[in-house]
Amino acid sequence: MPVTRNSQLPVLPAAAAPATPVGPDASYAAIDDVGLAHPAARRRRRVLRNPSLWVLALPLTVIAAWALVPDWFTTYSPLDGTPSENFQAPNATHLFGTDHLGRDVFARVVHGTRQTLLTAGLAVLIGLVVGSVVGLVAATAGRAADAVSMRLVDVLLAVPGFLISLVIVTAFAPGPVSLGVGVGIASVASFARVVRSEVLRVRNLDFVEASFLNGGTYWSVVLRHILPNASGPVLALLAVDLGAAILAISGLGFLGFGAPPPTPEWGLLIAEGRQYLGSAWWLTSLPGVVIVATVILLAALGRQLLKTFRI
């Protein structure tokens, strides 16, 4: 964060506030009441105090932990099975049953989380970074830049995301990286639009004007004031888009364009289970329930974040 003249002037009380206010604080409340606190700081407090956000965050944290430390949740190996125990229906020892090689399906789902989240995370990261840059340029770099970048976004919207992913996967050979890049490029458009409209909204607020008058440069104002205040809806989109990316990736993984077979991955698990649809319903149904639950939780988290950030 560059130190600028602007940040040292005591115009905005919250400019000197700590980055993460932790609890109710009398002086904060007073500032809040007269509406002078830096909006970003006020929003951060609102996030921490929202109980439904915590309720949603808990199961999502568990899923994130599956990706980080899968061995805490299952003792079975995702790759080696006991052939004599194959095709067991869900029971107390094998929560999701076992597959044709006697591998524990729950272990494969838990260990598959990493592959799925890594690919989806790559996609969302590309969408976020490229989309934010395009949106920011569109909103702040003048009319011509706005027109050009928004037409580019129109083009991205005109080609269905599924096909954009297909082009990338075809060109660079199927695999998790090309899949993530493809899905990521497809999600650039939505990030660009949200960032653009948010930046346009924030840019016209009085305190941004004030920061410019105080001698703030383009970069200092963008980084210190515009981006933090425009981040709420973008954060909400991030959650929703992660869910959408998981859906897209599991769909393309199901078609066989993702990680190659022995790797556990959610879409691939369902694709493999498809051959045993007649004898072992749990191979397809239960991993699918995990995908549905994850996507619903992420979408609900996105909605809650949006609600929290709406002033």
């Binding site: 037409r151 580019l152 129109d154 083009v155 919207l157 005109a158 080609v159 269905p160 995301g161 599924f162 096909l163 954009i164 297909l166 082009v167 990338i168 996967v169 075809t170 060109a171 660079f172 050979a173 199927p174 939505s190 639009r193 409209s197 869910g243 859906l247 599991s250 769909g251 199901f254 078609l255 066989g256 364009f257 879409g267 369902i270 694709a271 289970g273 498809r274 649809l277 007649g278 319903w281 397809t284 149904s285 699918g288 995908i291 549905v292 996507v295 619903i296 979408a299 609900a300």
Partner: protein, 319 residues
Amino acid sequence: MARYLAQRIGQALLVVWLAYTFVFLAVQLLPSDPVTIFLTVDSAVDQAAIDTMKSQYGYDQPLPVQYVHQLLGLFSGDFGYSLASGESVSDRISGVAGSTMVLAGSAFVSAVLIAVLLVAAATLTRSGAARRFLVNLPPLFSAVPVFWLGLVLLELLSIRWGVMSLFPDGSFLSLAVPVLVLAVVVSAPMAQVLLKSMAHVYEQPFIDVLRAKGASRSWIFFRHALKNAAGPALTITGITVGTLLAGSVITETVFARSGLGSVVLQAVTTQDVPLVQGLVLLTATVFVVVNLVVDLLYPLLDPRILKSNRQGSARALAA
């Protein structure tokens, strides 16, 4: 009106041209040319064979020539040639498009019906619990993977209850179930947008006037509110064409139907770049044309759009 027409058609042409340029540039960014990629998928091939094939497909021409040649072809309905079969992309697609059109078309109509009925039920019901349940259905629908829903229904209907065959046999269920699977997923965004704009319409004073004049709840909904709320939903309906196509490809794979899905799968696994390129351009064109039609229908539904200068505001609300 003429100005609005010209603007929309110009924009549509611009988007098709930009999409073409985008795909053309993307192909140039590949590590090597499409022919080499295609021929070296699983084995080494001698250079002479690559060169012959390159000259056959015009990949030995200078880039600007290729660009203009392919662009002109695009406007005469020539979407390029498949490397695997040598057929033109349009021939390759027209052979199987019928089956996909039946699936996608029926799914589209069903999705619109599902969305309208769901919103009507949610708006007209007097029970708070029923409304909460209905309002939460679209987010659930949009979180369900198409292939998973298809497989679960297939397992229940064909294997557990035996009312449907595992492979398409022309019976009613073998078409109705894939259509339903696709329609459920496609209806989600339509219902969500329609619910949102319906809530907006119900806040307006004319609804109170209608109510005060004694109009029944269903009369208000179907004769007045639906028409006023339909705009943004119409826009998102145009946008769902992309989802519909992706969904068709996956649904066809799950239910072992022939159609565009198998062509797409084959094109990607053999790394047939021109075929994929042609498919993308064709879809982008279909998408742009459908959305152009939606834009042109819009003033008929809501003449105010011609007077206001806030272009694309409906699309912004829909997205």
